[in-house]
Subunit: 318 residues, 2 copies
């Protein structure tokens, strides 16, 4: 019995798993994220959770080989030091050192979007391809870029911020949480798609989405895809628009990075072909022919397990 | 005496150099590119040129350690096999194997834009930074992306095609040699800038560029920068436009790659601050604050030597 420990720290829960050397989950579970006292109890919570799970499974002390962990916020990946993680409460927190002290395991830290990308590369849609673009279309738009099998960090850990490529440069671009306007995230996230729909109703109040909006008081990205399935014109034009911006951004990145696979994850990716077909069309329009030929689109397959499996991959690399 | 051999094959001349283990050029020279018989004499030309130079310098047989070489066209970097190099004449040519046979040296092959980027990283403007974006603004727009000290190839050798990011998506985009329209290259290359100026004269015939155009029968990018220096409105608006598109493309790439340095080379980069100042302004507008803070712009310093020095770097890596 030799297992890696994969950990994925979120603002509400911490996901944990014991993972075999080949990347199969032995067991997975969650604990709440304890944010009191600036998050300083989190490391001992994780250590206790791991220890009691190990005992529960009857595994020996040396069954656990190493730990890989993803966390949100600004992280120094080399030292595992967290400068700031707003939705946890950490500020200047030596996460790696603390965890190593508490668990006795060697710990590798990266950000949450990156370990999800590594998980998909290793055991998900990435299919062990070594040049991979992972894009999460959720509340925001997150990204992880894998080059030669390694996650890209860049000079100060900011690499992979695909959601903040600028899609709309004129004054019509919506404000983004990052402080800029017109970011891809303002258009291609679930939030962005819902916003476009609500704005679109002003001009096309005869859309079926109007009924949903009046009933629910709001709209979701899923409402838009559902309406598009029924040939609603407004919904179809919004998806067209989203795929134009997303396809252009991904083609531009692909012309630079020449990835083998683009993995789409997050809630919006569940729309499947309703998203993928128009997206591939726009991608083909803007990518160089050889780049387009070399690149497949896939929907993420690991769901919420991507992070803990990617954490195990990190642990494997040491 | 231990030297690397750096070779940079172009459509007209082949540049060669003996380079110390530290990257200093011992001697450099050129030979013509012999394109007869589909370029099949080039490898023996290179071998003879190296051998006679070695003898001329009185160096022993084992002074030459290894060779690194850049060539244009579609290359399999792992095997040094050239699928097709239009302006040389090679088709399915085993460049690395042939050269190793002819010279007895171990040979590493990459494309010409990439070895120039490696040269700038090692001994030029890149200053040994390990995360680097190199952009050559010449007749076309070329690129080389260096990540963790390694040149990015992507899944089929197409990585770094920065000139083919799409800048103009509507029907106003000019045709590009790649078959697409509106590529960055159609705007930010020397050719693109000249085209914008000639088109601009139709609407602003009172520009000083009109006089130059009538005298010379054409315009160059240098004419545009010269006129901008004298506050010509058309010239200034073209540079504004070029910097908007180039700044947006580079900021989008930087949000994904988080480079430490962006090196600008090629004829257009000689405009210096006239280009750099408006470019940095647009870059700042579209890059995430931490990405912009982490990134410096520099003008390439090695000129035509970048390729042979980058070749030597390749040889050093083996």
């Amino acid at each position: 019995m030799k297992w890696f420990v994969g950990v994925d720290i979120g603002g509400t829960t911490i996901k944990l798993a014991f993972v075999t050397l080949e990347g199969d989950i032995v067991t997975k579970w969650e604990i709440p994220t304890n944010k009191v006292d600036g998050g300083k109890h989190i490391t001992s919570d994780i250590a206790k959770a791991i220890e009691s799970k190990r005992v529960e499974l009857g595994a020996t002390n040396d069954a656990l080989v190493a730990m890989g962990l993803g966390a949100p916020g600004f992280i120094n990946m080399a030292t595992g030091f967290i400068y700031h993680a707003v939705n946890i409460g950490w500020k200047n927190f030596a996460l790696k050192d603390e965890l190593e002290k508490e668990t006795g395991l060697s710990v590798t830290v990266d950000n949450d979007a990156n370990i999800a990308a590594l998980g998909e590369m290793w055991r998900g849609a990435g299919d062990e391809a070594k040049n991979l673009l992972c894009v999460t279309l959720g509340t925001g738009v997150g990204g992880g870029i894998i080059v030669n099998g390694q996650i890209l960090h860049g000079v100060n850990g900011m690499a992979g911020e695909i959601g903040h490529l600028t899609s709309i440069t004129d004054e019509s671009g919506a404000s983004c949480n990052c402080g800029k306007t017109g970011c891809l995230e303002t258009v291609a996230s679930a939030t962005g798609i819902a916003r476009l729909a609500i704005e679109g109703l002003k001009k096309q109040p005869n859309s079926n989405l109007q009924t949903v909006f009046e009933r629910e008081g709001t709209l979701t990205a899923k409402d838009v895809f559902d309406a598009a399935k029924e040939e609603d014109e407004l919904a179809k034009s919004i998806i067209e628009d989203v795929c134009f911006h997303l396809g252009l951004a991904l083609a531009n990145l692909a012309n630079a990075l020449n990835p083998e696979i683009i993995v789409l994850g997050g809630g919006v990716s569940k729309a499947g072909d309703l998203l993928l077909n128009p997206l591939k069309e726009q991608f083909k329009r803007f990518a160089l022919p050889r780049v387009e030929e070399g690149c497949k689109f896939k929907v993420a397959t690991l769901g919420n397990d991507a992070g803990v499996i990617g954490g195990a991959w990190l642990a494997k690399q040491g």
